[in-house]
C-alpha cells in the first residue's frame, strides 16, 4: 500500500511540474484559433480565405489595405504605382533591399514569375486575373503589369497574390508551398495538419519588426471549445465566435469582445424565369415581407439590414440608402394582384456555411407565409445545395456572398454570367456590369455600380438582400496591434499584449 501511495504522489508531482514548465517560456507568443484548418499554402490556388491569416504573416504583397480605413491602398513591396489612361497598364516601382526568408533578393523578376503564374497555370484564383496579358520588366525595380482589356481590379486582386521568390519557385514549383518562403514579418516554421501552424519572427524584416517572437495558429472547430480555451487563457484570440456565447465571454473579466462588420451579406436568390417570379409584383412582395430588423436584432444580435448588393465598407457603398421596410399589408396585396397561384415555393438552404442559417431561413419562411406565400424549406448539405443551385433547381435559394473589397466579381459571376441559373436577363444591367469593369475613372465607376445596385433593388431581381454579417472575436484583454478587415481575415503581424 505504501509503495502505491508513493507512486501516486510522484505521478502527481510530475503532472504538476509538466503543466508548470509551459508557463516558464520567456518568449512572447500569441495563439490564435479559428474553426477551419489551412488547406494548403499556395495563395494563388486557394479559394479558402482562411489562408490569408498566415499569408499576411509570411508573405508581402505589392500593396496593402490602408490600416486606418480598411479600404484604399498603401505601399508594401511596391513604393509607388500609376495607371495608364486607358487602364491596361499598371506601372509599379518596387522597394529595394528586401530579402526573402531564404536570402534571395526581391526584384522585378519575382513579380514577373509570381503574377505570370496566372497566365501559365490554371489556378483557382485565376478568374481574378483572367485579362492579364504579361508582366514586363523595365529594370530590376520597375515592372509594368499589362492587361488585355482595361482593368480596375489590379490592386484589389493583388492583395491575394503575394510575391514569391523567383529562383526558389523555378526550382521547386508548387513543392515550395510545403515550406513557404516569403518576405514577411514571420517565417513559416512548422505545420502539423489538424494541429497547429507555427510562425516565428523574422529578424531581418524590411518593415516594422513584429512585437512577438512566435505566432501559433490552431484550428479548433467546436465553438464551445474555442470559447473555453480563450476563457482559460490557453489561447489569446478566438475567431468566428457565435453571438450566443457573448454573455459567457462578457462574464469573464479577462476577455473582451471585438465586433467587426464583415463584407459578407446574406441574400435570397430568386428564380426569375419561372412563374410567379416572372411577375415583378410577386418579387416585390417577397422583399417587402422580410423583417430584416427583426432578424438582425433578435436572431443574429448583430450586423445590419442590407441596403443593396454593395455592403458597408466596400468601394462604392451608398450610405444614403435605407433598407426595405417590412410592409405586411402591401405585400399581401401585391401577392393577391400577382399571378401567384398558391403553389409551393421551395427555399433551398445550405447547412454549415453561415451562422444561424437555419434560424434565419425559418424566420423568412414564416414571414413569407404571413403574406400568403406557401413557402417550404429544404435544408441541404453544402455540396447538394451547390448542385441544386447551379442547376436552377429551386424557387428561392438562401446564400451569402463575401466580397474582397470590391463587388465586381459578385455582380460579374452572379448576375452577368448568371452562375446560379436564375434565368434573369437584363440587357441594360449586363451592359453596365461590363462597362464598370473597364471604367478607370473612379467617380464614374461609383456611379455605375450604384446604378446597378439600384436596378437590382427596384426590380428585386435576381437577388433580394437580407443582412450584412457581423464577425466576432473574443480575445484576452490587453491585446492590441491587430488589423481586422471586412474579409474576416485579420492582419496579425503586429499583434501583441500592449502596456
Amino acid at each position: 500500500m505504501k509503495s502505491i501511495k508513493l507512486v501516486i504522489f510522484l505521478l502527481t508531482i510530475l503532472w504538476l511540474l509538466s503543466s508548470c514548465l509551459v508557463g516558464f517560456a520567456q518568449e512572447k507568443v500569441i495563439t490564435f484559433a479559428r474553426p477551419e484548418d489551412i488547406q494548403f499554402m499556395d495563395p494563388y490556388d486557394n479559394i479558402n480565405i482562411t489562408n490569408l491569416i498566415i499569408d499576411y504573416l509570411v508573405y508581402d504583397r505589392l500593396v496593402e489595405y490602408n490600416p486606418e480605413t480598411g479600404t484604399g491602398f498603401v505601399p508594401a513591396l511596391a513604393t509607388e504605382w500609376s495607371v495608364s489612361p486607358d487602364g491596361t497598364e499598371y506601372t509599379f516601382k518596387l522597394r529595394q533591399g528586401v530579402k526573402f526568408h531564404n536570402g534571395e533578393p526581391f526584384n522585378a523578376e519575382c513579380v514577373k514569375v509570381s503574377l505570370e503564374r496566372f497566365v501559365n497555370e490554371k489556378l483557382r484564383r485565376g478568374s481574378d486575373w483572367e485579362t492579364l496579358k504579361e508582366v514586363e520588366i523595365v529594370d530590376d525595380y520597375t515592372v509594368i503589369v499589362r492587361y488585355k482589356q482595361p482593368s480596375v481590379l489590379c490592386l484589389t486582386t493583388s492583395i491575394q497574390a503575394p510575391m514569391l521568390p523567383a529562383k526558389a519557385f523555378k526550382e521547386k514549383g508548387v513543392a515550395l508551398f510545403d515550406n513557404p518562403i516569403g518576405t514577411g514579418a514571420f517565417t513559416f516554421t512548422e505545420w502539423k495538419r489538424g494541429q497547429h501552424i507555427i510562425c516565428e519572427k523574422n529578424p531581418d524584416y524590411w518593415g516594422e519588426p513584429a512585437y512577438i517572437d512566435k505566432f501559433i495558429y490552431l484550428p479548433i472547430n467546436e465553438d464551445s471549445t474555442r470559447l473555453a480555451a480563450v476563457l482559460t487563457g490557453e489561447i489569446d484570440i478566438a475567431d468566428t465566435m457565435p453571438p450566443d456565447q457573448v454573455p459567457l465571454a462578457e462574464a469573464e473579466p479577462n476577455v473582451e469582445i471585438f465586433r467587426m462588420l464583415a463584407w459578407d451579406q446574406i441574400y435570397l436568390g430568386l428564380k426569375v424565369d419561372t412563374p410567379p417570379f416572372t411577375d415583378k409584383k410577386f418579387r416585390q412582395a417577397v422583399t417587402l415581407a422580410l423583417d430584416r430588423e427583426n432578424i438582425v436584432k433578435f436572431i443574429l444580435k448583430g450586423g445590419r439590414p442590407s441596403t443593396g448588393n454593395i455592403p458597408q465598407g466596400v468601394f462604392a457603398f451608398d450610405d444614403s440608402l435605407t433598407p426595405v421596410k417590412r410592409d405586411v399589408e402591401k405585400a399581401k396585396q401585391l401577392v393577391k394582384e400577382s399571378i401567384y397561384d398558391g403553389r409551393e415555393i421551395r427555399i433551398i438552404v445550405p447547412t454549415g456555411w453561415y451562422p444561424k442559417s437555419k434560424d434565419v431561413a425559418q424566420a423568412i419562411q414564416a414571414e413569407l407565409m404571413e403574406v400568403g406565400i406557401n413557402a417550404t424549406l429544404e435544408i441541404l448539405d453544402g455540396a447538394t445545395f451547390a448542385e441544386k443551385r447551379a442547376a436552377g433547381n429551386y424557387d428561392i435559394y438562401y446564400t451569402g456572398a463575401s466580397q474582397p473589397g470590391d463587388v465586381d466579381s459578385f455582380i460579374w459571376m452572379r448576375i452577368h454570367n448568371d452562375a446560379m441559373a436564375s434565368g434573369y436577363i437584363n440587357e441594360e444591367l449586363n451592359k453596365l456590369i461590363e462597362d464598370q469593369r473597364q471604367e478607370v475613372d473612379s467617380e464614374k465607376r461609383v456611379e455605375m455600380l450604384r446604378k446597378i445596385e439600384n436596378i437590382v433593388n427596384t426590380e428585386v431581381a435576381p437577388h433580394a438582400f437580407v443582412y450584412q454579417m457581423e464577425h466576432l472575436y473574443f480575445q484576452r484583454t490587453g491585446i492590441t496591434g491587430y488589423r481586422y478587415y471586412g474579409n474576416k481575415c485579420p492582419d496579425l503581424r503586429y499583434v501583441h499584449y500592449g502596456e
Binding site: N221, T225, G382, A386, A419
Partner: protein, 306 residues
Amino acid sequence: MRKYIIKRILLCFLVLFGVSVISFGILHLTPGDPARLLLPDGSSQQEINELREKLGLNRPVQVQYLIYMRGAIKGDLGNSLYFKKPNLDLIKERIPATLILTSAAVFGSLLFSLPLGIIAGVKQGTFIDLFAMLFALLGQAMSPVWLGILMIFIFSVKLRILPSFGYGSIQALIMPAVTLGLPLAALVTRLARAGTIDVLSEDYILAIRAKGIGEKKIITRYVLKNVLIPITTVVGLQFAVFMGGAVVTENIFSWPGIGKLAISAIYGRDFPLVQAIMLVVATFFVSINLLVDIVYTLLDPRLKFN
C-alpha cells in the same frame, strides 16, 4: 485451426472489395460535384467542366473505380482533391492520434469497468452493485457531445486542471478518452456483471467450491475467462468502430484524428480521400475482427475443435 485462419483471411479480402465498391458507389450517387466545391462560389460551368476534366471526373464511374483500385492494390491511394497531397500521407498523419485516443478509451474503460462489473456481480445487492448499475445506465444515456462540453467547462474553465483542447500531453488525453470510452465502459460493466452472475450460478462452480478452491481463484480463473468471451467481441468491435473515427469526440476536443478528416472529405466530396479513408478503416476493421476471432478461439476451448 490453420484452415480456419486462411478461410477468414480470404473472407477479409472479399469484405474489403465489397466496402470499396459500396463506398465508391454511394459517394458518386450522392449529389454534389467536388469540382464545383473546389472553385470559388459562382464560377462558370465552363470553369467547373475544365476542372472536372483535369481531375478525371468526367470518365465513367466504373472506369474511375478501376483506375482507383488498380492504384490502391499497389499501395497508391491517390491524391486528395482538396489538399492536393497523397491520401496515404494525409491518413498517416492522423492515424497515430486516432490510435492513441482509441487505445486510451478502450483500455481505460476496460480497466475500470471490468473489475467493477465483476465485483458487482459477486457482491450482488450491495452498494457497489447499485453504483455499477447506475454507472451503466448513465454512461449509456449521456450524450458524448453534452458530456464532453460539460467536462471542458468544469475541468478546464472552472477548475483549470485540464487543458480544453490539444494533443500531445497526457492531460489533454484524459477528457477525450473518457468521453469516448464512457458508453463502452457502461456496456462492459453490464456485461461483466451479468456474465459473473451467470457463471457463479452454474453447477460446476458449486463443485469447484466443494473441492475447496478459494473465491479469489474462482473469480480470476473461471469467472474472468467466461466473462471475457462476450466482452472481447464487444470491445473488438468498438475498437474497430472508434478507429473509423470518433468524429464527435475529435471535433469537440480538436483531436487531430481521422474522424475529422473523413467528415470534411465527405462534405467536400473529395472522392479519392473518402475512398482512401474507407479502405484504410475497413482494413483496420477486418483485421481487428480477425484478431478478435482468433483470440476467441483461444478463450473458448469449445471452438478449438471446430
